[in-house]
């Protein structure tokens, strides 16, 4: 695992279980923290025309609404339906995080249909170009929210993810073992049934020989 990256499985679980009000408070704090870490990014966002973009992770039950341009930048959650934005970007959470951190080319993701863009394309292009100017490492920014304990917090995030990955791997292995044991049991049962049939046939033949032998003995007398 690349320890400089925000662990996606952990992020996905966290985003599913954290209550919406708490999540909105956390995103507010994250944006405030990022304003301090990336002042250039927010200056560039403020230079853009005012716009609202829906960020829709297809593997989460809600979406994020990002407001920027001609004023303060904000990020909040919204229900899947009934959100009127200038544009929307839809894709898996992992793809969207890669996009935010500039790890993958957005045009390539567009060609391969990993992300889908709808609405005002100029707004999305401006946002993409502005984000791409900045070196964003979300794990660093999230751990920085913890102030003086940011390093331990980062370690905790990495460890929890490792633990989750370990549990996931263990469960997968156990599942495979279980399947393998079941398969072995089924094969043993089949073999057992075959042997039982064979014993039964041999017993039958033996009985026949015994009867034949007795008959031969009787005729000899």
């Amino acid at each position: 695992m690349d320890e400089s990256r925000l662990p996606v499985p952990l992020a996905r679980v966290a985003l599913r279980v954290i209550p919406e009000t708490v999540l909105n408070r956390l995103t507010y704090l994250l944006i405030r923290r990022m304003q301090k870490i990336h002042p250039g990014l927010f200056q560039n966002l403020a230079r853009l025309d005012a716009a609202t973009v829906c960020i829709e992770p297809s593997d989460l039950p809600y979406r994020f609404v990002l407001k920027f341009g001609q004023g303060p930048t904000s990020l909040r959650t919204a229900a899947r339906a009934g959100c009127s934005c200038d544009a929307a970007v839809k894709g898996k959470l992992e793809s969207l995080l890669n996009l935010l951190e500039g790890r993958i080319d957005s045009d390539m993701m567009f060609f391969s249909r990993e992300i889908i863009i709808t609405g005002d394309t100029a707004v999305v292009v401006a946002l993409r170009n502005t984000l791409d100017r900045e070196e964003i490492r979300l794990l660093d920014d999230i751990s920085a929210m913890c102030g003086p304990v940011s390093n331990p917090a980062r370690k905790v995030i990495v460890r929890v993810n490792k633990f989750m990955e370990h549990i996931k791997t263990s469960m997968k292995n156990a599942h495979e073992r279980r399947h393998s044991r079941d398969a072995n049991e089924a094969a043993a049962k089949l073999e057992c049934a075959r042997l039982q049939e064979e014993i039964k046939a041999l017993k039958f033949r033996l009985a026949k020989f015994e009867v034949r032998g007795k008959r031969m003995d009787a005729s000899a007398l």
Binding site: D107, F110, R113, T118, G119, A122, V124, D132, R133
Partner: protein
């Protein structure tokens, strides 16, 4: 003018992309100012004066040259913005400027005679007489050749003109006379030659129609991609149109140019520099494409086999690659 070394000229739409290009092994980076003086005038892209000055200084520190692209055509009565861009490029310490307009070439020749001038692909100089005209009158040092020439054509031009030439090695395939896309102008009312954008984002709309993607430019539907079909740029020349009851790519298919397999031939033809297109692409693209070409050129210089076929397929438009006119010539 044959050089044993092929110069790798790489795109930078942002300072971050410039850093990525330098780190990935670019010999030269080209970039533009944040206005309509360059042909990639997209929102959020390009350099302001401070960024350009810092970018040039950073590149020079790392042994890399910077070319400033001022390759759109000044509008009547508004030449000042273009003149200002030339002056700013000189002030920022650029190694050369890439120009297309005759008036602007004249201005730069008179005002900044010591600043190298390259002829942009936007000038569409595709024959020896045209190239020699620009050299004679504006002392251009290099010409960027249009993507309509075969390798034999390129070799012949170099022989006739003895000019430094820069050819496209990776990017898009355009069927138009470079920089004169009247289709885009017709559909949007905005001229790529003046505004610096082909298929301006403000006029592009994507519609998600039950997992099918419909791309429109202005009121014209350019394409509709089925569920598993790779998508493409919303440019009019790559549109899928219905004509005579048949739907097809009338002008050009969405496919990317990749010349990595013909680098030895381009070198043998006498080409000076290879241009990677994509100032509008991300820094991830720049890192990947520049890194791949750097390795291929190093392999070529070392005389070893180039192993790069297919490495950049996912980066190409529509997920497909071609060697374009270099092998097949132009229709």
């Amino acid at each position: 003018m044959r050089s044993s070394y092929l110069e790798l000229v790489c795109p930078a739409g942002t300072p971050a992309a410039l850093h990525a290009a330098v780190a990935a092994g670019a010999d030269t980076v080209y970039c533009g100012f944040r206005d309509c003086t360059n042909a990639r005038n997209y929102p959020g892209l390009n350099f302001d004066m401070d960024e350009m000055t810092a970018g040039v200084a950073y590149a020079h520190e790392h042994g890399c040259k910077v070319l400033v692209t001022i390759n759109t055509f000044p509008r009547a009565g508004q030449e000042k913005s273009w003149h200002q861009a030339v002056d700013n490029a000189a002030m920022a310490g650029a190694d050369a400027i890439i120009l297309a307009d005759i008036g602007l070439l004249d201005y730069a020749t008179r005002r900044h005679p010591g600043l190298r001038r390259h002829l942009s692909v936007q000038a569409s100089a595709a024959n020896a007489l045209s190239i020699l005209f620009y050299r004679e009158h504006f002392d251009i040092k290099r010409v960027v050749l249009p993507r309509v020439l075969s390798i034999e054509d390129v070799a012949s031009l170099i022989q006739q003109t003895e000019m430094e030439t820069e050819v496209f090695a990776f990017g898009s395939v355009g069927p138009m006379s470079e920089g004169r896309c009247f289709l885009s102008s017709y559909m949007t009312g905005l001229s790529p030659t003046h505004e610096g954008v082909c298929a301006p984002a403000s006029h592009v709309v994507y519609q998600d129609d039950n997992h099918c993607i419909k791309s429109c430019l202005g009121s014209v539907t350019l394409n509709k991609f089925s569920k598993d079909e790779p998508a493409a740029y919303p440019t009019p020349c790559k549109g899928r149109y219905e004509a005579n009851g048949r739907t097809s790519y009338l002008f050009e298919e969405p496919i990317g140019l990749n010349a990595v397999d013909i680098l030895p031939q381009l070198k043998a033809a006498g080409v000076t520099a290879l241009k990677i297109e994509g100032r509008q692409r991300s820094r991830a693209y720049v890192s990947k494409v520049v890194g791949t070409f750097r390795k291929a050129l190093d392999d070529l210089a070392a005389g070893t086999q180039i192993h790069a076929s297919g490495d950049l397929k996912t980066m190409a438009e529509g997920g497909r690659e071609t060697s374009g006119a270099y092998k097949k010539g132009w229709r």
